[in-house]
Symmetry: D2
Subunit: 330 residues, 4 copies
């Protein structure tokens, strides 16, 4: 068994704990968490060691993987420590909100080459990954356009929103990463952004309710991402790859495959799987399998530190585009 | 232009008149109809000759096609007269409710070989015909099963129902014919039938609200037809061909291709095209094109007198199966 | 934890073992199996007790649930023994191929009222169960027709087929049960059957490749079931409930929700989930949850001994209908 | 009957001639065309008057409607003449490539208030119009986003492309208009554009193969339009309206509603209706009905001169955005 120390037992950390617990190769050895009742919850659910001082965890030779789902501003520190103690690393997105901190650590990453996997779960979704494979198999010819629709069913808490880094760094970062995933070696060179808010709350906290971004790659591929913090009909997650010889779609998943037909309406279908825990359940499981294989040295990471850095760079460029009402060169 | 005399200007006759009027090769020369206000309506709409004595029509050398949409019990007489006067014939289904009358005329049909087309409009539907072509192209391998669902949005008038000949001869006759169309040379040899009525009216008039028929062909193909005199969600018309190597479906058509997504429901679609006039609009137009080509001697008829006879034979076998609670050999 | 003894570690038994192992309330304590290499496999995978003498299992007070997935002809004996030792019972379908043996045990079931759940997994499928709930909520008004399509991707081994009891008792038994599930208190009173075989193998072993059954309930609901031992495009599992005010469908599930569009073809989708292990994965898990709750006395069983008996009775009636080419009264 | 004079019998003019000929209220009285063989073709098909001097047409009192489908640079002149002679006007898009010419005529339009309908056929499409009505009925709450995908199956001839005015004025003008149609009184205030070309031909003629435009309305609605001059899988025409309480889609139409299931692929559907003549057939017919009603004074025009002017203004803003790599204020 591979021993995992989970840092952070908040909303997303709890989901990771459950997934780690189910994985046949991984064992949840430690949970590091500061809040008391969360510690108790972790203890009760997984009967693992609870630790309030993270240094003991890093020093424990039995710990194989450091699994970082603590607040964003702790990520870089934990990555540095993991590199020093030669641990395999998982880190939630975003790496940090300060790109300079990231760049500094990037040097160590290049130098010490730790085994590291970023929390870009969508790369592991069977549907989203299937169209990547089909694209690479040339099923639609040369890629010309990527269109991503990503809408959360409802916004997170105001507290979360305030420290989230904003819609581009917190939410669209997944979509920047997916565009880069499909583009492969062809990097994005130009960015334009538009945002809009109907609920005045968003302006107060200097965030945005809706965002649209257009980007262009070196080879001329156009990428369009559209985000919304809310979506009355559920977690809307769609990807469209338009190529010279065809189109690939990865669509939404409904809670079951039943339909109702009645007077004046046909094919009424069930709602989408509610949110990321349900929608990307398989993706999270498959990503953990890769993490175990990465630790064993069997595979390369599908989502690297560099991916985390470059996605954030695009998010920052969007803020610049908004401020100057300009197309921004990357 | 090819001159057409339309016999019968009732509900279906009026639809045919409009279609004939739109066809670029056909001219509506005569309408034969006994009811005064229908005659006026025909005159007003099409400015054609109105005739109450059909003999004058048959004797008029200018008439090329006799188009029979009069009451069922007049069909055979009009076919006989058309054969005698060497007219091209279109005849609505069913040929007659009395199979002996049909058999007698069948001899003349074999002898004089008139150009005749039966009103099996569904054979001409682009979707239904497309799966026939794909079947013949071996896209699904050897045919093993045919499943037809056919439901009317609502029952016809009580007056119509009473003289309709019953659900098998009036409604399911289209589906018997479609099974035979897909089977090609492989004829049906055994039949089983079940019916049911929830509205007591159907028992009073000795008809049935719902009917299910299973049939087996000489080569072992199983055919299942399910009919209903009503369907709250519209005119339900579906065909499924199951073969050794695949399946072909011809599905319903909706009034437009829009969808609504809202809380708790997704992909809500528009209702089906309402009834045969709308659903089989293209089929009727294509059938008229074939009728014109048949008259010109360019093509063979896709739906022959024999098809009309054999479909009725199956309908009759169903009544026998019901009465004796047995599988009936054809 | 509730302790489970699994009797039979064949193909389906192995699937059950894995599901039991994943269930948070159940513990796999024993596996009873005669074949040596299967015993070793069970030991290795689940580290449970392996027992070749079933009496010791029944006598062990620690055993709460007897889980029967051994060959069909052992089911009744194991149920009797479970009743005697007051165990909670799960039993795979069919109960037995001999209806008289079943009837005898039925008396004990009525007398001693054991906690028993039959292996009718489809009743627990989220989709199939969702339309049952919607039907009971009157979403489509009065039920008038049930149409079930059930096709296996490919036939089982010849060895299995020979002792399976035939397509009606082995395969369609699930569909008989589903019809009864949707009908509720309204029992089936008449049955008609048709079969067909294209591969000569089926005739040699006196079984059938394809089968179609029509049934009628006391209240007049028509039920149509169509089965095939093979299906080139996967495990085809569809249910249609037609009511006075609407229709409910429970459709197939595809391996992901991607689509490909290319020249001359649009919306090309992925194949269906391969077979029962994948397609009814959730159903099996939910059924085990119910089994645990049944043992705890929290719920009634959704699939009873009587359900097992009545489904077999319908299967037998189908053979009678085939032999006498008649509609059979139940 | 309302007499129509058709100016221009090129590709689009010929389609209009056929539609006018089919309309029950309209009569094709004149065709004005300079190219000889086109004149002969018009004469042969419609037996109408052929005129090479347009003044005679404007002076003919019998002419009710001037139907302008001649080259773009003649539109404004013909509109002016029509206003002078008090004719009802239909004019193809774009009004002109020179916005100053348009502005000058706009003054006369405001002064003399001619009955005029612009060639924005998509406003009349049953699907696209149905979601407009549903939006106005508040089915999705407040509108927040419009996403339009519009791809032609293949580019027009090089000759056409060279004088087309470019992708924004020739092709996306329909989509600018549709956005304005859905926005109602809420006008667009900001525009961003991106383009890309993979085929070097487009750069040579200073046009673009692909284009993406983001726009923002006064009230904050985000509009995203994506165009392509080619689309291997057909004429891709989709509209998505995202509102606070739901989403409306108007989707593609396939040539029939059949599906093929085979090993490893399911639900393979037929291609989209090929191009605008087929896809917008009903829209063109409905627009002609409105034109007849407009002439009779029964209705207001759904697509006005102002709509033509404002769509072109947006097209021009896109070129400015491209040139200066900036967000452009309207």
């Amino acid at each position: 068994m591979i021993n995992v120390a989970l840092l952070g037992f908040g909303r997303i950390g709890q989901m990771h704990a459950e997934n780690i617990n189910k994985n046949k190769d991984l064992k949840l050895l430690y949970v590091y968490e500061k809040i008391d009742f969360l510690c108790k919850k972790a203890k009760k659910l997984y009967n693992c060691k609870i630790e309030k001082k993270y240094n003991k965890i890093f020093q424990d030779k039995k710990v194989d993987i450091i699994f970082i789902s603590s607040p964003t501003n702790t990520h870089i520190n934990f990555i540095e420590k993991s590199i020093f103690h030669k641990k395999t690393i998982f880190c939630e997105k975003p790496l940090d909100l300060n790109i300079n901190k990231i760049l500094k650590t990037f040097k160590n990453v290049k130098k010490y080459k730790p085994k590291i996997q970023l929390g870009f779960n969508r790369r592991y979704d069977p549907g989203h990954f299937s169209i990547k494979k089909d694209l690479d198999k040339n099923k639609i010819g040369k890629l010309q356009k990527i269109i991503i629709t990503s809408r959360d069913p409802s916004p997170p808490s105001l507290t979360y929103l305030k420290s989230s880094g904003g819609i581009f760094r917190d939410m669209m970062i997944h979509d920047f990463d997916l565009c880069r995933f499909y583009l492969g070696m062809d990097e994005i060179v130009e960015v334009q952004a538009f945002t809009s808010s109907f609920d005045p709350m968003y302006k107060k906290i200097k965030d945005h309710e809706l965002a649209v971004v257009s980007m262009k790659s070196k080879k001329g591929v156009l990428c369009i991402i559209t985000n919304s913090r809310h979506c009355s009909f559920g977690y809307d997650q769609r990807i469209e790859l338009f190529g010279k010889k065809g189109m690939l779609l990865s669509g939404n998943q409904k809670i079951d495959s039943t339909e109702l037909f009645k007077f004046n309406q046909s094919s009424i279908q069930k709602p989408f799987l509610n949110f990321f825990v349900e929608r990307y359940k398989e993706a999270y499981a498959l990503q953990l399998n890769e993490l175990a294989d990465l630790h064993k040295g069997k595979v390369k990471s599908r989502s690297t530190f560099e991916d985390g850095y470059l996605a954030l760079k695009l998010a920052n460029a969007c803020y610049k585009s908004l401020r100057f009402k300009k197309t921004i060169k990357i």
